[in-house]
């Protein structure tokens, strides 16, 4: 059991995070401050929720790129709907409407995929373009900075805070609660429900899953509803934090999120992926981003470094697989050699 943990992808990512933190911290000690930690958490939260949205799709064996557009249409659409009607309340109603829009948009993906038996990527390529286009054309083309009274202070809703002469007040933002609640729910859902196990089963072998009696259409729909709801939710959190609602929210960031999910140990061909790994994957990406700033390395390097790490992470499992294949059925041989 211990061996399994030590060899797991999550553990490797955790080691990299620790090693990287030690290096960055030794170059720039401000990295080890509470303020810096709170800041890291705050920056990670939204991306963790987005990665949660994508994780079930990846386990199912697909790649979706439309979830960012769903975030945009859900958050911007909800905001424009409420703000033009003079809404001055808090975020709760935003979440209700935004998640509903997200769910519907996700269902559209799921419907097209299951109805016509299409590839997830192909459909999401179309719906991504469609939703950004829809938002810009029908809802509005410019960022909106008007905030309802109940939302204005959200960016500084801290559970606890620290103050520092140079950086000012920094706090642990409430959005970490969402991450924890959603994370626990998703972990339970993936591990303990039959639909959750069905997602892994389909990702492992779709034909066998069908023969075994899993309802592939239903499970696919559930996966996309989850994706839509969490994307919409993340969109609203991000907009409220940055105090502007933007019709092109997250545009071009879908592949960064995918990269984090893969870094967290999910297999792009499906069947593998965990909640904890995904959280670590996002944190690692965020630390790299920060590390480069704190160590004064030009920010252009960030993507390059993430890319290199991704290459390493895709090569290692492939190498393991190859080694296993090479040893193949010759276990007797190995024993024979050990005897000799």
């Amino acid at each position: 059991m211990l061996k399994r943990v030590l060899r797991s992808n999550e553990f490797v990512v955790l080691l990299i995070i620790i090693a990287l933190s030690l290096v960055v911290g030794s170059i720039n000690p401000t990295f080890f401050t509470i303020a810096s930690l709170f800041d890291l958490i705050r920056a990670s939260n939204v991306y963790i929720i987005l990665a949660f949205a994508l994780l079930p799709v990846v386990i199912l064996g697909g790649v979706d790129i439309s979830f960012v557009a769903i975030s945009a249409v859900a958050s911007y659409g909800t905001h424009m709907l409420l703000i033009t009607r003079g809404y001055e309340g808090g975020l709760f109603l935003y979440f209700v409407i935004g998640c509903l829009i997200g769910a519907l948009a996700g269902m559209l993906n799921g419907f097209i995929i299951t109805k016509f038996d299409l590839q997830i990527f192909d459909v999401s390529l179309a719906t991504q373009t469609m939703w950004y286009g829809f938002t810009l054309f029908f809802i509005g083309a410019t960022s909106n900075f008007d905030m309802p009274d109940g939302v204005v202070g959200y960016y500084s809703s801290f559970i606890t805070q620290v103050s520092n002469e140079t950086t000012g007040v920094t706090g642990l933002h409430v959005s970490i609660i969402y991450v924890i609640v959603i994370g626990i729910f998703l972990w339970w859902f993936l591990k303990y429900t039959m639909i959750g196990r069905g997602i892994y089963a389909i990702g492992g072998d779709k034909d066998v899953a069908e023969r075994t009696g899993f309802n592939i259409k239903k499970i696919t729909m559930v996966v996309f509803i989850i994706m839509g709801v969490l994307s919409g939710f993340a969109g609203i959190v991000q907009s409220a934090l940055s105090r502007n609602f933007n019709p092109t929210l997250f545009i071009g960031q879908n592949l960064d999120v995918l990269a984090s999910v893969i870094l967290g140990g999910a297999a792009i061909k499906g069947g593998r992926g965990t909640v904890i790994g995904t959280v670590l994957g996002v944190i690692l990406t965020q630390i790299i981003r920060r590390a480069l700033v704190l160590t004064h390395i030009p920010s252009e390097w960030q993507k390059f470094v993430v890319g290199i790490i991704l290459i390493i992470f895709t090569v290692i499992p492939a190498l393991n697989e190859k080694r296993r294949k090479n040893q193949g059925r010759t276990t007797d041989l190995v024993e024979a050699m050990e005897e000799a």
Binding site: R4, M194, R197, G213, R324, N326, R329, T330
Partner: protein
């Protein structure tokens, strides 16, 4: 008096104009083991699908546990305790052993959530029922074929199987694993669970079944105690023709004309210090159990898994084989064991498949592909190898197993190799096609090609090879001349390595 479990009576099944099953009747008792044998297209898979409810017979009756069915659905069949284990075992490689075993039950019971403790208890019980030990937390994808098969069996037993049907269960197993499998099934037989093996391997038929049924062209030819049948009879009854091996003309290699010489070839985890000579006009057999290193040797000679050290000399010149490209550019051809995955472009036309290896020679003066040349080349090979197809423009996937194997051969023969390596060239091919392929191999050798044949099929080796090398634990341990050995000796030697290994355990 044994109790009857299943009886099929006068089953007729037609597909369009073809009669797949023509008035077939048989029965099986509780705890009985039956072997179902037949060539491709003999109707054995159709029969299995009728018993499992996938097909509805056009005429005839099915009785299971005394219940009469005219039409039976797959659900009916499962409820009556029929469990079919297909060749892919229907397992999830990314899930654990425990979950794979328990999933069926969870789905059938309509569970919404998973109780992992129950899953593990259930799986443990399943494995105990067939008396095997496999770690419950291991991922199925990391297990051997034999283990996966045992998991599939324990799944079936947990689903209250009364009749276990296994489709070609021994194809990918070593002899020890086959023995272990038979033991498990025999044990189940004593508990009253009946079993049907669908098999191609004639030598195994007598080992497994108490009773053998042979189907030919949709008709039942034989239904009797396996003990009374010898391989020759089974062969004859399957094909309807005597496969005469007495008048075979073997190629006569010239002993002084060495085509290829291999010296001290090594591959870690594969084979050690392998040296041999291949003469012109020679068919050299290399045999050994699964895991003896013969497959690795084949792959090394073809550059797919290059050797770590050693020399290979072809026509007096030393060559380096570090990649498949090196091998083919030196004139070495390779017919892989898994023709579907490695040998053919299944969705492509037969013509394209044949031309694939020699596309460079089919250029016209503008450097473009000469389609007429391609078609005429392809037609020539279709004719020479007797590939059964109305036209070369059909996709390779439209061919039957035996014909696909001929197509792989055609692809390599069009390339005119100096040395042709065949790895299990007739695995999963029916007896009739097999004899044709053997004849072709001998003919190619007599025309001057050097052929290396990797196989664990003893009769195949005896029918085709001039010389046979036996591998054991990665080394060549014996060199047999065909004239001075016989099937029995060779078989004993092959199995001896098994016994030796067992003694060590």
């Amino acid at each position: 008096m044994a109790e009857e479990l299943l009886r099929v009576d006068g089953i007729i099944k037609r597909f369009g104009g073809v009669t797949a099953l023509d008035d077939v009747s048989f029965s099986i008792n509780k705890g009985e083991s039956l072997t179902l044998v037949g060539e491709n297209g003999s109707g054995k898979s159709t029969m299995i699908k009728i018993i499992s409810g996938v097909y509805t017979p056009d005429e005839g009756d099915i009785f299971i546990n005394g219940n009469h069915y005219k039409k039976m659905t797959p659900i009916d069949s499962i409820k009556e305790g029929v469990q079919v284990i297909y060749q892919d075992f229907s397992l999830f490689p990314n899930l654990t052993v425990a979950e794979n075993i328990a999933l069926n039950d969870l789905i059938i019971s309509g569970a919404k959530t998973v109780n992992w403790k129950k899953v593990h208890d259930f799986a443990r019980e399943g494995l105990e029922k067939i008396k095997v030990k496999i770690p419950l937390n291991a991922l199925v994808g990391e297990l051997s074929t034999a283990d996966r098969q045992l998991i599939a069996i324990s799944k079936a037993i947990l689903a209250d199987a009364k009749l276990l049907i296994m489709d070609e269960p021994t194809t990918a197993l070593t002899r020890n694993e086959v023995k272990a499998l038979f033991k498990v099934v025999k044990e189940l037989n004593t508990k009253g669970i009946a079993s049907i093996f669908v098999s191609h391997k004639l030598t195994e038929v007598r080992e497994i079944g108490e009773r053998t049924i042979i189907l030919r062209n949709g008709r039942k030819i034989i239904d009797e105690d396996a003990k009374g049948l010898d391989v020759k009879t089974i062969e004859y009854q399957m094909t309807g023709r005597h496969i005469d091996t007495s008048s075979i003309e073997y190629s006569k290699p010239k002993q002084d004309d060495v085509l290829m010489k291999v010296e001290n070839l090594n591959l870690s985890h594969g084979f050690f210090d392998v040296s041999f000579e291949l003469h012109r006009n020679e068919v050299l057999g290399i045999t050994g159990l699964l895991g003896s290193g013969r497959t690795e040797l084949a792959l090394a000679l073809f550059g797919q898994k290059p050797a770590d050290s050693g020399t290979i000399i072809l026509e007096g010149k030393e060559i380096k084989i570090k990649s498949i490209f090196d091998a083919t550019s030196n004139g070495i051809g390779f017919v892989p064991e898994d023709r579907i995955k490695e040998g053919l472009f299944l969705p492509q036309t037969i013509n394209n498949n044949i031309a694939a290896k020699v596309i460079d020679t089919l250029k016209n003066k503008f450097g473009l592909l000469d389609l007429k040349k391609k078609v005429s080349l392809s037609e020539e090979w279709i004719k020479r190898l007797n590939v059964k197809t109305p036209t070369g423009e059909l996709p390779a996937s439209s061919l039957s197993g035996g014909n696909q194997q001929r197509l792989v051969l055609a692809k390599w023969l069009a390339f005119d190799p100096k040395v042709l390596i065949l790895n299990g060239p007739t695995v999963g091919v029916d007896v009739g096609s097999k004899a044709d392929i053997h004849e072709l191999i001998r003919k190619l050798a007599s025309e001057g090609m050097g052929i290396i044949l990797m196989s664990d099929d003893i009769p195949e080796l005896m029918h085709t090879c001039n010389r046979i090398l036996l591998m054991r634990r990665g080394r060549i341990v014996e060199d047999f001349q065909r004239e001075t050995t016989n099937e029995e000796d060779l078989n004993n030697e092959l199995v001896a390595s098994d016994v030796e290994e067992e003694a060590k355990r």
